[in-house]
Symmetry: C2
Subunit: 66 residues, 2 copies
Amino acid sequence: MTKQTLQVQGMSCNHCVNSIEGALQEIGAKGKVDLANNTVEISYDENMISFEAVKDAIEEQGYEVV
Amino acid sequence: MTKQTLQVQGMSCNHCVNSIEGALQEIGAKGKVDLANNTVEISYDENMISFEAVKDAIEEQGYEVV
């Protein structure tokens, strides 16, 4: 299991939290958004999912991984 | 037809726009959110819908009409 904290731009409200955490859940990863710090704590099985897939899932929702 | 521009707090992103405009549509009103100015331009038939109902629809989504 890989754990990482990403800096993500553009997250502003609880709708954003839900869209990001939901998108990560859909690909089998877990995400915890911290709005105050503009971060997403992600955990995923690196044998199943690539970091690129995690990043893409967030960026497809309209946010930028810094 | 009544037209009014409301000051609304807490609107931050396109999800917010959709939730407010959608909620107004559901009660038969029209809303146009201006994120930059924190306003919602509403239009509704005052014979069908009260101002209170319009205000409630917005506040039920978690925003405050000032």
